[in-house]
Amino acid sequence: MSIPAIRTEALRKEFGTYAAVKSLTLQVEQGEVFGFLGPNGAGKTTSIKMLLGLVSPTSGAGALLGKPLGNRATLARIGFLPEHFRFQEWLTADEFLELHGELLGMSRPDLNLRRAELLERVGLSGFRHKQLRTFSKGMLQRIGLAQALMNRPALVFLDEPTSGLDPVGRRLVRDVIHELRAQGTSVFLNSHLLSEIEVTCNRVAFIRHGEVVRVMEMSALDRNISLLTIRADGLTAEVIAGLEQWGADIRLDDGHLTMTIRSEADLPEINRYLVERQAQVFALIPNRVPLEEIFIETLGKDSGL
């Protein structure tokens, strides 16, 4: 069994009397794209900062790539794009990547090669001699992403990487995450954009008050719980009541019946049931339950602080 990319045990951080992170226990495997979900104030950013050694935990333990938290050498194999990033804006794009490459201990030829490669990848080759202070928010996010990838990291932390990006920028981030996944890089993704998480992650953790409430395989979204829309005439109250054996949350509006079903494998049987009871079935449309539904179901409707 390979060493996990991230492992934490009861990681806790208190600021004064307030526990920003109560007890974080999770494991991320190498090569996984792992989504970290939770309302504002759930302790997501503090958790990332603890993992990266920016904030020291009050108690608990953890390891990155098999080495205990705070190990300096491990940081050479890690990339990080912070939330609310602000960079050394008096540097040009070239100098900025050079500074970070140097601090990562990269050799000069490798640094030059990688810098050119990444500037091209994030679409900033034409701006390499411009100072960052002239950059738009989207351009800053792109250069920040390049900075996080300079050392071809084994593990990348992206804290809200698409906030403030236009659709083209978001697509770029998504493509980069797919590439990282294909290369076997582990990605720890903190994002509020659930649609992003849906298309990029292997697994997600839902956290509240700094505790993992639930961990879910994203493939479970396809396999198990689905939302079914039935378009049919002749759905009597009796017939509708009978549908409860396959699922719940049955709602009828405007000739459309929607319900959640436990398994898509039940679809033929549901069809047979309806036909046998003289319903005129026009369509049975299975849909994945959007992650948003699961988010609210898992974490409640209380918005964060």
Partner: protein, 283 residues
């Protein structure tokens, strides 16, 4: 060591790009120009008035006058260098912590001490250049116009530089746990304390009041910046003005070499404190 140098270069580049170097240079040159003109006017005036009097006497008076003028210039330079040191250090760590730029630096395989020491080294080089321009320019102006050379000028200028380094180091240390504004308040407060303590000690020396001298020494122990200037002035002042007693730019109660050693140790300990505070805080 390599990382310290990388970060020092970054700090220096930041100062250059953010026009700190340019404004320092322009205002420094304005200062030197005004000093130059002022010195010229006073020197020529004194020289022509002295014509006809006993030559030996005139020479003594002139050289004493030149000494006072040169020290007056250097006194102003000392203040400006200390202020420069305070301003450079004040916002550096606190500013980067607030803005978050520190996060991408510290999450690299870099010791936190490298960040503090790199910044310190960058500022030290910057202050060295500033000091050289200002003190060097003042001394050169006097020398070229009048031919007058200060005594022990190398040691004197080194002590002035050391004072600006000390103030910058205190500022950097405060900046590791206070906001930029609070740091400025603390550093200028301490500088003021040191200034007034120095004067209490000097007046105490003239009046031969032991308590006043002790008050001065205690403030020098709290912050030894002013004693560095007073030692520098002592090294550079003419023997006659030293014998005559107090002048605004000379000194009567001379800080001992022990106090200079104390200032150096004080600086080193302050820098270590800055490193330690920064190492242990959350970012």
């Amino acid at each position: 060591m390599k990382n310290i140098w990388i970060l020092a270069r970054m700090t220096f580049r930041e100062a250059a790009r953010r026009r700190i170097v340019l404004t320092g240079l322009v205002l420094g040159l304005v200062f030197l120009t005004v000093f130059n003109i002022g010195f010229r006017l006073v020197f020529v005036n004194a020289y022509t008035r002295g014509a006809g009097a006993d030559e030996a006497f005139t020479n003594i008076i002139t050289s004493e006058g030149l000494n006072v003028l040169a020290l007056a210039g250097l006194y102003a330079v000392t203040f400006l260098s200390a202020a420069m040191g305070a301003l450079l250090g004040a916002d550096t760590l606190s500013g980067e912590i607030v803005s978050g730029t520190i996060q991408t630096l510290v999450s690299k395989p870099v010791r936190r001490s490298d960040v503090v020491l790199g910044k310190w080294l960058g500022f030290a080089i910057l202050l060295g250049c500033y000091s050289l321009l200002m003190s060097g320019g003042t001394v050169l102006s006097v020398r070229l116009q009048s031919g007058y050379a200060l005594r022990n000028v190398g040691l004197g200028l080194a002590l002035i530089y050391l004072e600006s380094l000390l103030i910058m180091t205190i500022s950097l240390a405060c900046s590791s746990f206070l906001s930029g504004l609070a740091t400025g308040g603390v550093v200028f407060g301490l500088y003021g304390l040191s200034f007034i303590g120095g004067w209490v000690e000097q007046i105490g020396a003239v009046l031969q009041n032991k308590t006043a001298i002790q008050v001065g020494i205690v403030t020098s122990l709290i912050i030894p910046s002013e004693s560095l200037w007073r030692r520098a002035a002592f090294e550079m002042q003419s023997p006659i003005s030293a014998a005559l007693g107090m002048s605004p730019f000379g000194t009567t109660s001379v800080p001992s070499p022990l106090m200079i050693g104390y200032a150096v140790i004080y600086l080193a300990l302050t820098l270590m404190a800055a490193v330690s505070i920064f190492q242990h805080r959350d970012l």
